[in-house]
Point group: C2
Chain length 139, copies 2
Amino acid sequence: MNKVLTSGLEDYLEVISNYLKKYNKVRAIDIAKELNVSRASVSEALKRLADKNLINYGRYGAISITGEGEKAAAAIIEKHTLLQKFFKDILGLEEQESAENACKIEHVISENVLERLNQFVKFNEKNPEFLKNFHNYMK
Amino acid sequence: MNKVLTSGLEDYLEVISNYLKKYNKVRAIDIAKELNVSRASVSEALKRLADKNLINYGRYGAISITGEGEKAAAAIIEKHTLLQKFFKDILGLEEQESAENACKIEHVISENVLERLNQFVKFNEKNPEFLKNFHNYMK
DNA sequence: ACAAAATGTTAGGTTTGCCTTACATTATAA
DNA sequence: TTATAATGTAAGGCAAACCTAACATTTTGT
């Protein structure tokens, strides 16, 4: 059983984790709507995630996330959050566009880039002068 | 015939365009080596690219790129170049890591993010003081 | 409580992209 | 120039993701 997650499975896991945090439960149809896929596709993805021990679920059972699954989800969500922040706060893009790009890039960005980006964002928070100038320059 | 390129086909097209610019010719095996895939996979990809009128080629014929293909390739390469520059010059990452990340992100980033990133890089070139401080801060 | 609606699963397909193996063609070098 | 090496293609397979349609189960509303 291969533990490496495809972009697709990462998306499923991310949605599951976020949904559970918000509502304490998640159904296949919620995931289907969130990801714009069919219920059947969700069923298949859940099987694959369960195979990898990232979620627990059985026929018609409630979906829960395992410790391992939560760890994997947290890593993805961390990437997402940072990227979205970068696009919105540094580049000054809209919420929606920032989120969409974060959603795609989170699956392919390396740890080193992530870390540097993190430092970059932090440095800008400590030294806001430059960013102010950049945002003025763009107007 | 669908004109939208998958990440995979974008990679093939990019390699073809770059190779043609450098050497004025490109063979299936060059592409195979560059992308770490089999010659057979390249054969298939070339068929798909030709179907979409992005390249010209026939059985055992030389591969050339169409105007449309060159336009598509240029768009991808532009993204690649800018992203790589950002990772290397702004975030201060190594050449190799910058290239690898650019290679993946170029397929998913939106036009707006690209444009903003471009402005951001340009602004930094005009105002190098901030970046100097950031790079010092990271040491 | 039970029919209707909602949700979940299965079966059977499709497409993309990759592979290996075997064969076809072209290039090369003795 | 011709055998060998290099390269290109075709055939047949596989896996990931997606789909629709049909069926199973659960939930809901009266």
